[in-house]
Symmetry: D2
Subunit: 383 residues, 4 copies
């Protein structure tokens, strides 16, 4: 009889958006069970959140330190096996560090940390402790994103020339943060988000997606970073020229003031032989374009997808899988890898794909460089 | 501390498609826990399936009869609280009847039963036992389907005139059943599916969707029913003219030989003042069309949706929710209603919406009439 | 030095919609010159319309009889060479007959005539006089429609099974005819349109398109014909089941009360091996669907289209060609065939494709049968 | 009786792409007649081209100088009234200058000239001679582009913040110029195109479209200009950051190596209150996006468009108008203005909209700056 893996959560109390997403994503595949949490820095709130989630009072902690300390003392077959960190950016490093150093695997929301320094430190801790670590750059969890990556990896497009990655949103078109809206408040607060607003929140998703799909790293960038909403402390829009390690050139733009846009992450990649296009809002479709031949509409579950794509879809073609399922792919792969490790065996390679601490470090470096470039008169900034 | 509701499952052993869907749908919202099952008529297979799902051997039964009998003897705080039936059509009635008569609520896959007679009998049992019963016509679980229904109910389109509902698939374009594929085998087998193939499997989904959205019932129909693949015992295509109780006229067509179609359920409804269009494969979009004014693109999570729609979305606009989430809406509402009932209180009305045994009876009557019409030279057949 | 072909026009005075369309279509390719017209039954109006079009007063006639008589007396190198008839349905037969019998080729708007009897008579006149005759079922002029026809003709989809052809419009959702709107007035008037409203105006376009693309004829039909707008004398909506000569089954629906629809003619055809989908409102795209392979997006001007398709596009891929260009393809092919005939040579076969008087007869038969079926209790009516 | 305006053409002999486009565009509306041309620098070829177009031999000239000189000597009611210049860039200035200085109006293909110096000189000549001059930046001829411009002008989107304009093509993904293909040869040849390849050919279209729709000018830019195809002499790709005069920021990218793209010019503009999106390949649709309200699908011919948009559509909604019709809008407006001027009256203001020599100068300045920026290490270059 298979046991579910036991998860403890840091953050994600009642009213939080991303905490609920992590819990749904962790639940879908029946691999993971939430057993405890420090859902809020207020012990009362943490307990209330936990009770609403069906947790007993003695597994609802007031702080992550308490959680890690006390869980560690529980019987091995009872205590949590990994920690999910879903707090704002300034509370990623400390719980991740403590969890890792106390023998717990960690799955952490993005961006990795409050700043690059923290990120580099965390990378070292992951390496030193040897614990499993995943970062929820969830958009790489979509099957068609994996298909795109494999098509490029196998040379179907030829050498890459051009990448256009976009992440327009409109939800911060007005000074929403002054209304007290929770998400808007911390996302626009340098004390909790770090030096970047839109570029940190969604710019890193775009950067991660482009690097994941192309298999190339950004080597140089030139950024025009703006804050359009008066009084806002952090950027709400950025346009960036990119150079990639493999010779491709590109554009990245991310925005939270693109009025009327929902969550329109999308990418186009062009190589010598063909191009491809993927849009997060219709994630089960991948357009593959060819020189003077009809465009092909690749679809989740249709035809001979690469195993890496096929393994990340659950239901037959035409039954749309969405954001939660892509998010769940990160959790499931993390769980399958953790289970294999606990059982002393190698995981199935097709299920080992999830963003790492190194991806997280690259994201933090991107943030630092893109903000620096925005303030610079120099054209190109190395990454 | 909230307890999860305890679910037992009939059918859905390893390799089954719809059983896994039910389990994922039940898991997403953290309201339901699978505690036992009779996953296969072979006790060995049932136990193996249960073990793979993390169930102890003593909760994996060889038959639904054994499951219901033995669960009933367990302590009330331990035994299953409802039964999920995910078997082929010919094994819906017996477990549903036994579960209801032994005090368990039931959630059952569609169509309701093997034939209309069974369906009517089941309707009486539900009424007599007073147990909660839900049918998983899952497509009504989509938020934008609920929005469509509410817009029509509130008169936004005026009196309805025309309904076009389509359900084209292509997966049975070849004699797949002769390859031994599990789904294809029983779907095309009159002994397990009943008198209808495509019309029973997906025609009823189309019928249910049209009646749900319009709030009208089909009163007359005229059908052209075909079997295109040689040697196939049941229909694989049907074209149907419809008359509705409120005066609308319509077309329903369902097909499993529409080569190259995935699962393209869609509906258009036109009234005096405007029209609407919804497509299951891009389910977060509802097009609303007006007389000489720009079409509006209603989207999950954007703007002032009706509460009935808004309550069935979990994540912000632009984060696509799909098939599993819509399916989960049926499970969650069923669970919330069951919980309210167990706690002796009224459920929140916004969460009481799921297909009933009466919807199931209408579906079975549709199957009988549509097949009869297909064989008749008379133009119109009353429903 | 090439001379333009000289065209006379019947109907299409100032304010008329379709007359202007014919003139633009005739002008685009530089093959045709408008030299005279009987633009209105009121000689004053006819002259005013002609003057606005740059015609001298002596070539603007008060009646088509006068035009045909007097043009015939002009020098051969000056007089018109063919007549374009763009009047309402009840004024198709007489000018066509007189023109043909006086040695003029004819291009005529659809449907062919006021009723089937006239159509059959006209067919005989065309055959007897041997004059060139074209009917402007313009939608077959689109390159991608021709591509679809050729793909089916060459067996790319295998034996056809299912056809769905739709023509929803919304412009007659209200009693527009009572406002005096010119188009609405005659389209809903049995004295000018004949026995059918929507089915005659656009139902025949759908019928023609389906027969053109599939290469099969409708052999039986079963129709549900409605008039939704109170007080309207002719049908404004029809839903029809179809049987085709080659064994395909189908659905045709046409409507002018589908509120919010513009001019949404579209067709889907499914065969044993694949399917295709074309939509008039995005006419440069043809979706080609396959069994468990990615759908292909055929586009005007991209890749190896059949010569019959390629020859009917004028500009490179991605420069959209529209309704007028498709219409112009009818005029150009008619002109090229007429020129070849006048020069005593065979036309290039790739440019000989335009709807014939026989297509027109089939359309009129469709109208009679579909209206008869709408009134019948018998299920199937032979065509 | 209205006379057509008489046009002479420079360039556009047999086999040329853009010459045929200009002729079709000029023909559609029945306002213009081609009466003469210097279609090729080879007198034989010029005559053959003219004969194929139905022109008498004495109106087919071997050089534009000859055409202008000899036409000038013809009777005023016979000679050409304006010159259409459809040659490669290096042969724009000389015929335009000579035509203008000899009393002829001019309509000229884009970009305006071979370089900025020529463009500025031509601007002066236009001003000095007072002749009418139009530049065929044809994409501004689309009705929905005009609607977009008017919506912004009337403040419907509020102050603009962000502009994304794209022009990806794939046709030069391979060294097509080495195959002798006519278009590819001169477009990639500095001696005929000037200093820019893709940026001159299509980058200027994007620049013109962005400035037209926003009503703002580009004030600063930062460009990354590339040549991907080995051996090519001019750029085939460019990514550009933009600052606009009204405070908006933006991105422009144009490419001829975006494999699989046809002619995908598109633009998105975001303001404080809403955004809009237009795509040339589906030109009859304009998406208008709002803060937390459903997106609206504006369509050619539907609803209350601004008069400036409505006046540039010819046929009812749902009958797609395309590239030629947009091109024809430039010709028609030019013709209506020229006719008004010849008749000594003011033209109808709604038909006076076409690109001017000043737009052309801005385009040439854009080319010079964008190429300079591509070679510079400085971040921003003023325009």
């Amino acid at each position: 009889m298979k046991q579910k893996l036991r998860m403890g959560m840091v953050g994600g109390g009642m009213g939080a958006f991303i905490g609920a997403v992590h819990r749904m994503a962790a639940a879908i595949d029946g691999e993971i069970e939430l057993v405890c949490g420090a859902f809020s820095s207020d012990p009362e709130k943490s307990r209330a959140s936990g009770a609403a989630l069906g947790l007993p009072a003695d597994r609802c902690y007031g702080t992550f330190e308490e959680m890690i300390r006390r869980e560690k003392r529980l019987r091995p077959d009872r205590r949590m096996q990994f920690v999910s960190i879903v707090t704002p950016n300034h509370v990623h490093f400390a719980p991740a560090k403590m969890a890792l150093e106390n023998g717990f695997a960690v799955i952490c929301d993005k961006p990795l940390a409050f700043n690059l320094k923290e990120a580099l430190a965390l990378e070292k801790i992951v390496e030193k402790t040897g614990q499993l670590f995943a970062l929820t750059h969830n958009y790489t969890g979509y099957p068609m994103v994996k298909q795109a990556r494999q098509m490029i990896r196998h040379g179907e497009l030829g050498a890459l020339r051009k990448v256009v990655v976009e992440y327009p949103q409109g939800w911060l078109s007005t000074p929403l943060e002054s209304s007290g809206q929770k998400q808007a408040s911390w996302r626009t607060d340098p004390a909790r988000s770090g030096i970047a607003g839109a570029m940190g929140d969604i710019g890193t998703h775009a950067e991660n997606l482009a690097e994941y799909i192309t298999g190339q790293h950004i080597t140089e960038l030139c950024a025009d970073i703006s804050t359009f909403v008066p009084g806002r402390a952090l950027d709400d829009d950025g346009n960036v020229l990119l150079h990639f390690s493999g010779g491709a050139k590109g554009i990245l733009h991310a925005s939270q003031i693109s009025a009327g846009e929902e969550n329109n992450l999308n990418i186009r990649v062009y190589g010598e032989k063909g191009g491809l296009e993927w849009r997060q809002m219709e994630p089960n479709t991948l357009l593959v374009k060819w020189l003077d031949r009809p465009t092909q509409v690749y679809r989740t579950g249709v035809g001979n997808l690469y195993p890496e794509a096929q393994a990340h879809t659950r239901i037959p073609a035409g039954h749309p899988e969405g954001y939660l399922e892509a998010f769940a792919n990160i959790y499931r792969n993390f769980a399958l890898c953790l289970r294999a490790r606990l059982e002393g065996r190698e995981p199935d390679p097709v299920y080992t794909d999830f963003p790492s601490v190194h991806d997280g470090v690259r994201g933090m470096r991107f943030i630092e460089k893109v903000i620096a470039s925005g303030k610079s008169n120099k054209k190109w900034v190395g990454v």
